[in-house]
Every structure is written in structure tokens, then in C-alpha cells.
Amino acid sequence: MSRLELLLFGGERWALASHWVAQVEPLENSTNSDTRDLSEWDIDNTSESGTPHRLRMRALGQAISLLVYGVLTPRVFNSDEVLDLPKDIFPRAPVSGLVLLGDNKPPALLIDPMRFTERRS
């Protein structure tokens, strides 16, 4: 089972393993300048209407925060609800899996935060 944060960015739902997240805070209260977001992976966010939040991430070897436009209630998913993406087909993708949300919702893509550190270094 995996506990995942469910996030909004670019009008889509995204997932991120909760163990990566140290803190979630509204953007206006943050002083962290090293904020990254999914637009650097070509995700269009020009029409965002949600509330900006920063997720301070940990255990990445460097201080990184992720900007999103909505944070939903975290959920625990069974292993059969989190599907691996074939890495050999999508080696440049900043995501590692697909999360089945149920209730006829489209699946969320599971963010691989290690890709942010690879890109910056």
C-alpha cells in the first residue's frame, strides 16, 4: 500500500508519495525560493484557477519545493491501484506510474521527484 498526496496542476490530478513531502504551505507564506513546478516538463499551466501551494520535499539531497495549484486529501492506495509506467518507453518522463482514482475519474500520474534533482544537477 502507498500513501499518496493528490495534487492539481495544469487542470490535471497528479500524485506524489507522501514520504517525499515534509510540509505543505500556501504560496504567500513561503520564503523558499527554490521552487520547481511541472511546467518545466512542458505541462501547460497558463489557465490555472486553483490556490497555489508549495510542497517542501525532503530526502532528495537538496532543498526543493514543488509548486501546485491545489492539494487534495491524501489517500492510501493498494498496490493494484498504482501501475508502473514502462521506463524503457518513457525514459525522459518525470512520472513513474499511473494511479487509479476510481469513481470514473481519469487516472493521476505519479510524479517521480528524483527527476527534478537529475534535471537541476
Binding site: D84, R92, P94, L98, P107, E118
Partner: protein, 146 residues
Amino acid sequence: MSKRALLPIGLEGREFFIEAQYIREILGKVEVVKVPRADTQVPGVFLWNGQALPLLDLNFCLGLGARSEGARTVVSKVGPHLFGFSVDRLSEVVELMSDEFVPVRVFETAFAEAEVEFRGQISTLLDLPGLIGQVMQAGVENSVAR
């Protein structure tokens, strides 16, 4: 002379054959989840039997232009690789004799293995293993270049 079992498919007004041995299932139109930073030839995945399968853009791979958004989806397996691709139309599997095929001379298309006249039209037999091999090789090259 041996028989070949083939699935006739249609794309962009052209007729093609796929070896039936590579076909696992025929689906309707599937919901595609686009993967960020994916190559144009494999823009996303779709759900199939509890797996996220890559969806090939067959139109792009064959140099036919517009993106495939066909009404049917073919799930295929080549070696260990499971893929899907959309087609505009398809019909029942047919059997043709191997000696009915001739070298490609009418439609020079990427991954064309041979041609055959079928139901009054020239159909192109696709080299699906060659196409999948090229997709896998592109993934390896992109991984190295990342």
C-alpha cells in the same frame, strides 16, 4: 506454400495487414493518458488488464501525417513488449498464401514488408517487430541522451 493469418486494418484511407500472431485483443476507442516528455511515436498509455500499456501513434510511425485517433484499438505483443495502437477500421482476420505477396513497389511506407492485392486494393503488410524494435531503440537512445 504456407498461409499467413493477417488482420486487415485501415489508416488514413490506406489498407494494411498485421500478422495475426501479434494481436492479443481488439478494443474500442480507449482513454489515453498523455505522458509528459513522451516521444511523438508513443504519446501516452491506456489501461488494459491492470497494466498501463504504451499507445503507439501508428500514423506518425508510418509517416501518414495526422495523429491516430481511430475508433478501434489493437492490443499487440511482440516478444515481451505489449503495445496498443489505434486504427480507423479493421475487419476479420483473413488467410493469404505467402506467394501472393510481392516486394513493396506501390506505397513506399516506413516498416512496409510487402504488398498484396486484396479486395481490389493494394494492402501493405507491416513489419510490426521492426517497428517495435525501432520504438524500443529510440527509448534507449533517449535514456542515454537525457
